[in-house]
Amino acid sequence: MTAELVRGQNHPVSQSRVEIRVSAGTPVLALASLADEQGRFSGDGILAHPGARSQPGVRSPGELAERHTFAVDLDEVAADVHRLGVLLVLPPGGPVRFGAVPASYVAVADPDGAELAGYTLTGLDAETAVVALELYRRQGAWKVRAVGQGYAEGLGALLTDGGLPAPHAAELAAAALRTAARTAEADITLATMPTLVGDLRAPQTPAQAPAPAPEPPDPVVGHPYAGTSGPAPGGDTPASPPTISYAHPRRRRTSTEPPEPAPRAAAPQEPGQAPRPVAGDASGWSMEERLYNQVWGMFEDLARTVAAYRSAVEFADSRMDRELDEALSDPRHRLGGSGNAARDTARARREELVAQAQAVLDRDLTQLIAESEVVEPALPAAYARWDNPVWHGHRTPEESPLALRLGDLHLPERPDLRIPMLTRVPLERGLWIDNGRTGSEAAMTMDTDRLRRAAMDMAVALAVRLLAVHPADRFSVHVIDAAGAGSASLEPLVRAGVLAAPPAAGATGVTQTLARLTRRVDLVQMALRAGAPEDLPPDVDTADQLLIVHDFPHGFDDRAVTQLRYLADEGAAVGVHLLMIADRDEASAYGPLLDPLWRSLMRLSPVPDNHLADPWVHHAWTFEPDLPPQGSRVLDQALDRVVEARRTTRP
């Protein structure tokens, strides 16, 4: 059971060996600070950072990353250390404030991996260095408290505030950040980082644990970076620094612990105002899941507020109609101007109600737009638009994504408020990109060739996205392009060499590809039923498979159609997914027999089309595919990364 802490809340920590896990939305530096009862730093060994990772009782992670793990042994922590802070610091050259990046999540876990307490750092703004959590002694036992407060001026200010003389603090902060900057600049893989960190690490002097005396020592003595530090500034003796507050801002400081503060709302806000939106401000086990839930929450909120608006307008209209009818049928109004007055009143009443409804809608839309503005930039690649900068820094991940962005959804009330259309991965249903002209109004106005090209380009962009967001070798793509009509769009995939086999052409190619995938589905199903997935023949690729079928039903005989239906029905459960690019009318010769196939697929359109309904109120949402910007090389770059990752993964 994880206790979800809010800012200020505390939780007992009964184990002495714990792990602290950090999951940040952007690469951060994670450090541990060791302070005395008053939260003051004294002596050396007050900071576990990449240049000096081990301090008594705590080992900090080495490199700049989104995920970190600290190993903490509370029994080993020096007796005069009462507060062990977990610090997150934004590296120079990265995001400039925590308010601009997704909320980070920090958890305390036992050695078996079970989380004891977790805390999401919401409500941050200009901070660049924050104290995320604090482990502290209280009556002989350790507790954890969610802190979530920090300093806009960075790590140096944080250390200075803890009583470290300013030059010493600045130097220590610089030393911690230098390591991070170096690793970031070198842009090397994680595997090689420990070596680099090891080179930089100064000799550890755990024996010289800080003296219990509260008097801070000379900054030079015993400092790991003694060689680079300047002489101790005489005028800045820390014994009497009248300008420096030793207190953490907004935190009470007494030697005996004050009563535990009651949990309070994460973000202090003006009364009557909507809270400032924060990316990742939803429930979930990981940032990815929280963003997924947040996007779906925005989707629902937009559906519901528009439902309220439409219902009010509909009512206002019907009431006006009724009142106009009454005014017409009332014999008293037949003569004179009273009828006009009644009609004007009816119209004014409608306008007033509609204006009220509009005001409410506008308020909600403003809030959702503000949320969208912080959420969109924070999305991981799998959820992000192609024009999101996250794609430029994208690396082939270690784990499969939770969900995938298929495109954008919007309502006519506010077309510029786009909700990412996220669907869970692995896909539960196949996808069908409808390239038929009769499918939608926008398609009717396009000529067939352009429409088909757009549909195929969209399919390729989806395939690239799927390849890029899966670990190398965990996703393969097969293509059936019986008449070769899609070869222009498929060219990037073919050129990069990421397809499992060249696009299958002709009836033979169709038959072979379908037979291969059918066999795979059948074998994996059998293995799973028998509970022996390890007994699969070695030639069966257990990676998820995507089958792109272009120009159905060209090149398909009855047997192939049956196999395709089998894959549509049975494939998703064992990792074989269908992506059809087809015009339903061209398969009309099959009559109603294929209706179940089309129904089982999620229909997408290559042009904006309002055919998707939300699950709550069933508005018709306009779907727009997400395509790379014109002239962008983002697809090729993503494919290059896939190729590179596959090369390094394969033995």
């Binding site: 909120d301 439902a307 309220a308 219902s311 009010a312 009512f315 009220q356 409804a357």
Partner: protein
Amino acid sequence: MGRARERGQYVTVNMTKGQAISLQKADGGTLTAVRMGLGWQAAKRRGLFGSRTREIDLDASAVLFADKQPVDVVFFRHLQSDDGSVRHTGDNLVGGVGQGGDDEAILVDLQRVPVHIDQIVFTVNSFTGQTFQEVQNAFCRIVDETNGQELARYTLDGGGQYTAQIMAKVSRAGAGWQMTALGNPANGRTFQDLMPAILPHL
């Protein structure tokens, strides 16, 4: 008028039929979210095997009206109004769960109720057909959802040969809202059967 009763630090108004209370906080601020709670205890049970009397399934419903036109309804098959302002916490088929706690609850976010909705009527039906004679300790109450304080309680006293009751309505009054206890007996399996009985109360 109902009598005010000290209950811990809160004062609960026990309402009588037809009585209206304004949903204003003691400090003059208006309420933002209220919960209509429904609780009941099932008829005494002898055992499970061989017992042919079914559990009692009461259902709470809320009907949203705009100028006496039903616009939306929240009940066990539609747990949230389309606009999201009224939400049912879920169907309870047997009652008697919390020994005096709410078995079903409908949450109303008064700030999010659409501008044209001016009345929300709360009803209770016996889905399984038992009359209120067989139900014990049935009550309906209004709770300030922001702090859990009970604002009003209405007891389904006496029971009687009825299978439904129109409990209360929350209606716009000036800039805020007020609640009126109705307590009108009726008959019906679901809220649809009650519509003719509801309309006179609007």
